[in-house]
């Protein structure tokens, strides 16, 4: 991927196996979010190929990729700030239920989605906040809401961009459990800075530095790699 001559990500060959939790780590500016943007087609690669479940998605648009079941979250929490918690989740449920284009019906028709929405909201412990607008939630709860919204699509693969960023200790534990639970029948690729979380959750780790892959393998293999220690872990991991 080139930004006006600046090579942001180069020769990155990343394969994520079905049913695994895969971490993408690396120092700031390594190109992790760029990789996410490329995979979900928020950016178009200058060269290379992206396949999902054997299908070439390199030329698809972002919305089409999401429809195939490859759904992302964002680094800066992506909620609909002036909609309630319930409405946030319902927005995600509306499209698969065919309740998105009907402009002639009352929005009361959406109450059929409430049960499913509340299940998802329960799963991230937000039940008591269902009628608050998303902007009124704390940072950690916004992230939880975002995960609930992403899960509403029942995606085959989730891309989580720093799901734990800015979260307190308790929240991290809760979201870790949630990710482990949802990953049972899904594939997860996540960018994460908290290496304890990575060590604990992920089956495989890819280390990215300056737009290139530095190391790839299990957490133990990667953390022993001297180049990785030099570029990244030596300074950040205790």
């Amino acid at each position: 991927m080139e930004f006006r001559g600046f090579l942001a990500v180069k020769d990155v060959t990343l394969s994520v196996n079905e049913g695994t939790i895969h971490a993408l780590i690396g120092p700031n500016g390594a190109g992790k979010t760029t990789v996410f943007n490329l995979l979900t087609k928020f950016l178009t690669p200058t060269r290379g190929q992206i396949t999902f479940k054997g299908e070439d998605i390199t030329r698809l648009k972002a919305a089409e990729v999401a429809r195939l079941g490859l759904v992302r979250s964002f680094q800066i929490s992506a909620v609909f700030p002036h909609l309630t918690v319930l409405d946030n989740v319902r927005v995600a449920l509306q499209r698969p239920s065919g309740l998105a284009t009907q402009f002639w019906r009352s929005s009361n028709a959406l109450s059929t989605l409430d049960e499913r929405a509340m299940e998802l909201i329960d799963a991230v412990n937000l039940s008591s906040y269902r009628d608050l607008t998303a902007s009124e939630l704390s940072y950690g709860r916004k992230r939880a809401l975002e995960i609930a919204t992403t899960l509403a699509l029942d995606p085959a693969m989730l891309l989580l961009d720093e799901p734990m960023a800015g979260m307190g200790h308790e929240d991290i534990g809760r979201i870790s459990d949630l990710i482990r639970r949802i990953a049972k029948n899904r594939t997860v690729l996540m960018v994460e800075h908290n290496l304890n979380v990575v060590a604990d959750l992920c089956d495989r780790v890819t280390v990215l530095a300056r737009g290139e892959i530095l190391s790839d393998g299990s957490y133990d293999t990667v953390s022993q790699d001297p180049r990785v220690r030099e570029a990244y872990m030596g300074t950040e991991h205790e």
Partner: protein
Amino acid sequence: MAVGTQYIAEQPKLRTSSKVLGAIAIAALLAAPFFFYPVLLMSILCFALFACAFNLLIGYVGLLSFGHAAFFGGAAYFTAHAAKVWGWEPLAAILLGVAGAAVMGLLMGFLAIRRQGIYFAMITLALSQMFAFICLQVPFTHGEDGIQGVPRGYLLGILDLNEPLTMYYVTLAIFLFGFFIIWRIVNSPFGNILKAIRENERRAVSLGYRVDRYKLGAFVMSAALAGLAGGTKAIVFQFATLTDVNWQMSGEVILMTLLGGIGTLIGPVVGASLVIALQKYFAAWNFPVTVLIGIIFVICVLLFRRGIVGEILELMKRRQKGAA
């Protein structure tokens, strides 16, 4: 364009009281021609509907169109031509205006929604100015003269619209119909997605929404409703001129909507009433009315950015929170 605008999150929960208020408002509108000059009231109703149609786009999708005059004025020309030259029944002529505006909305929207923010506004402005130029050149609009002396005719061949009161009640019915449609769209499953796009477009895309289609759909609906207002205006005032298609008209509807409150249902109605009433009452003054409206506009934007209705709703919401 969401820059610098404050949206009202949720209307405060006052379902029953808002029904009562609605009933009072309709009663007042029914009685109004016995207290005010019907032509002024009809003018307000037409512009209020126009502003509501415009607000559907800025308030609920976050798109600032600077070319809505093309739909309003374009529909006025189509309706006027159908009623005068082809001798169509007034309602059919108005519907032709609506259809024409919808087609124009489809063409303009198709090009404009590819860009966002100020670029979206500039494309709509450029396209509407092109349309205004076409209106100046083609013979059927009669250039600087416009289409004059449009017959009001008989609604469905029965109701004589030359009767001022009949004309008023027909205009009121059209306004209420348009307002109801907007209310329905805003509070529909589709409207929910529009609000989501307004709030966070990237997120809506990442949830698999083809946002361009939703935007285009809303754009066409807004254009058609602006056309309903323009077509009705052509029948009420019996003319269609270049004033209605010029960019000043696009500016005026922005002003009305901002003044009343973007993203509130009745804000544009209040804004349009205020602007039209001021224009009428101060027309006789020596002090130029444009300057006066400009001053009011600046004061409003500085003091209450949410617009008149927006500020009132916000105040009620805060009270409710305080009470709870």
